[in-house]
Amino acid sequence: MDIFNTLLSIQSFAATISFIAGALVVSVVAFLMISSKNVEEKHLAKEKVYKVRDKYFVFLSACIVAGLFISLRLLPYSPFESHPDQEVTVVAMQWAWKMGIGKTDLSPSEFQGINEVTVESGKHIQFLVTSADVNHNFAIYNNAGDLVAQTQAMPGYQNKLDYIFPEAGEYHVLCLEYCGLAHGFMTATIHVK
């Protein structure tokens, strides 16, 4: 689907930039606490700070523009012209998943699916996700425990989640929206050939 999903690098990217930002904050705090032992004329000190601020403002603005430019090209939403190779109906209910190949005209409560489905790797799969009762979240994990794709399962609405499984194997579905007592036990399996 995109390079981030394929390489599963979002977590490491988030970790790296957050660590750098955290280290920067700690360094600034330490610098301020040490430098405040000295005294300087109020307006001179402020002038120095404002000079740094001006540079920071330019840097931050550039980061924001670059961040938006890159990240807004990687949205998970289906384009209108999306033509999946295979569609999978997914209905969430307290506390199970009903899945089946293809679309359905049945209502979520009438739909008869099971908690496992088989799809092909390298194909564009579109999950048509809804709920028969409360809000749930359809989250797909690979066997190593990395979250690879997700969307909300909401009563009265159908969310379309596109995903290309990069390789064959077992994938697991967990619920990622608190939905009541057995929220943590609401699982299903996707077999990828």
């Binding site: 930039i17 000295n38 109020k42 402020k46 939403y77 809000n135 066997n143 009265g156 969310n159 007592l181």
Partner: protein
């Protein structure tokens, strides 16, 4: 500054003492609820699934409500004791109504076992519940009481400020944007109070709308409200409440830090532009909670990311650099108050950055509803808001000389802070390992590595909760003693 007579001052002093004691007593109890949750997730104790979600609901509702109430109470005191006459009867009405609401929520959760989570995502409070209908009804009514109290409080403060400073446009600083010289300077805390409390009014009205819908649903189960609409109302309310809690705290950082640095902090054009922009970012950033609702119109998702990204400009380039210019080479004495304020700003910066990371749609699709979410809001609250509140309490009750002598509090503070950062680190690590949030335990997860990582991180995190509680206890020795002396001594302001 307005002139406050000694009788009125004494009344305001009684009120803030009441808020302070309430906060100080309830806060560690709510931490203990959090500890129980992590112990359960770490498989150290077995609460039972139903009890876990009851504890989770009370911990979330309690912390969000308590921290906002105390932040608002402190802002009220600061404004009432320095700048504007606030009606003490309204103050007591707010306090009493909040307490009645809290008692209702405690009964609904601990006795009624209400466990729908702190934001009661519709229609969960009504479907597949493990608690009786009366507990849902009591929770809704209690939350309505809290909403009424906060709404009246916010309206009263905004109205009083507007009356005192020449109108609504003036308290949001618009007189600084014209060419004419400003006659009466606006204290920064007034500008920030207005910018925080006006979105609060809008959020509490949104909260009132969905709570009334809930009440109708409770008595007429056949009703069926649009899910996406209710979700938008809930997240707008919840996000704004948490956001303005921190902004209320920043109000007094702007007011009090100059008293320690010896450098004045005035309103100017840049500050007005910055905080007016923040006003809109507060209102629109909440869309980032709904990224995984793919049916929400795409422009609203993008609006959420834009508002979240651009909010970094006023927050860092204006407020945080403002703090830096207050401190840099100021020869400030690092007593407990400026230390809590500086480290609180640092916690805000770290938690805020993690929030901006998660507000990136392309990243949120992987981090959404993992432990990254509690990671960033615990950083923001525990190492941001809570430090500001503790700083406020120390400022209230100790003179600067007393602060210099009080080495015990500083020891307690660093113990608390380091443990708090280690504690939130366990959440970040969980998020990066795709551990889901809001799981009573991880035994139901089929991937063995996810189960064991989640449980191990939870168990490790409890060590830091014990340590931060020790740090808090050490600070409490000083705070309680000082609060009592301050309250009894009429000469102490």
């Amino acid at each position: 500054m307005s002139q406050i007579n000694s009788t009125d001052f004494k009344k305001q002093k009684n009120l803030i003492a009441l808020w302070s004691y309430t906060f100080l007593i309830i806060f560690p109890l709510l931490i203990i609820l959090g500890l129980l949750m992590r112990l359960n997730q770490g498989e150290v104790i077995d609460l039972g699934i139903d009890n876990f979600y009851v504890v989770m609901t009370l911990h979330g509702l309690g912390m969000a409500g308590l921290l906002y109430s105390m932040a608002f109470g402190a802002l009220w005191y600061l404004l009432a004791s320095r700048y504007v006459k606030l009606n003490i009867k309204v103050g007591y009405f707010i306090y009493t109504t909040v307490i009645i609401g809290v008692v209702g929520l405690v009964i609904a959760t601990l006795i009624g076992k209400f466990g729908a989570g702190w934001y009661l995502l519709y229609p969960l409070p009504f479907k597949g519940t493990f608690w009786p209908g009366w507990a849902t009804a009591l929770s809704i009514i209690s939350l309505i009481l809290l909403g009424i109290a906060w709404l009246i409080g916010n309206i009263h403060v905004v109205y009083a400020l507007a009356r005192n400073f020449g109108g609504l446009a003036n308290i949001i600083g618009w007189q600084y944007l014209g060419r004419k010289k400003v006659d009466t300077e606006l204290p920064p805390v007034v500008l920030i109070a207005a910018i925080s409390l006006i979105p609060g009014v809008i959020a509490f009205l949104a909260g009132a709308v969905f709570l009334i819908m809930f009440l109708l649903q409770n008595f007429e189960p056949g009703l069926n409200f649009d899910n996406l609409l209710v979700k938008n109302l809930i997240f707008f309310f919840g996000h704004t409440l948490v956001n303005i809690t921190l902004y209320c705290c920043l109000g007094w950082v702007y007011a009090l830090l100059p008293e320690y640095s010896g450098r004045e902090w005035k309103v100017n054009k840049l500050l007005v532009y910055s905080w007016n922009a923040t006003f809109f970012f507060i209102l629109f950033a909440y869309f980032h909670h709904l990224y995984m609702d793919f049916v929400q119109p795409k422009p609203l998702h993008i609006a959420g990311q834009l508002a979240s990204y651009f909010s970094a400009i006023p927050a860092t380039a204006v407020t945080m650099f403002g703090v830096i210019s207050q401190i840099y080479r100021s020869k400030i004495r690092w007593t407990i108050v400026p230390t809590t304020f500086l480290l609180g700003v640092a916690g805000w910066a770290i938690g805020g950055f993690a929030a901006v990371v998660d507000s990136t749609i392309a990243i949120n699709k992987i981090l959404h509803n993992t432990l990254w979410v509690p990671a960033h809001f615990h950083t923001y609250m525990l190492t941001g808001v809570v430090l500001f509140l503790l700083g406020f309490l120390f400022h209230l009750t100790q003179t600067k000389d007393e602060q210099v002598k009080d080495k015990l509090s500083i020891t307690g503070f660093w113990t608390f802070l380091i443990a708090a950062h280690c504690f939130v680190a366990s959440f970040y690590a969980g998020g990066l390992n795709s551990i889901p949030r809001r799981y009573s335990d991880y035994t139901g997860i089929p991937m063995a590595s996810t189960h064991s990582t989640g449980a191990t991180l939870a168990a490790i995190s409890t060590i830091f909760i014990y340590i931060l509680l020790i740090g808090l206890l050490i600070m409490y020795f000083s705070i309680f003693k000082n609060l009592r002396q301050w309250y009894k001594n009429p000469s102490k302001t």
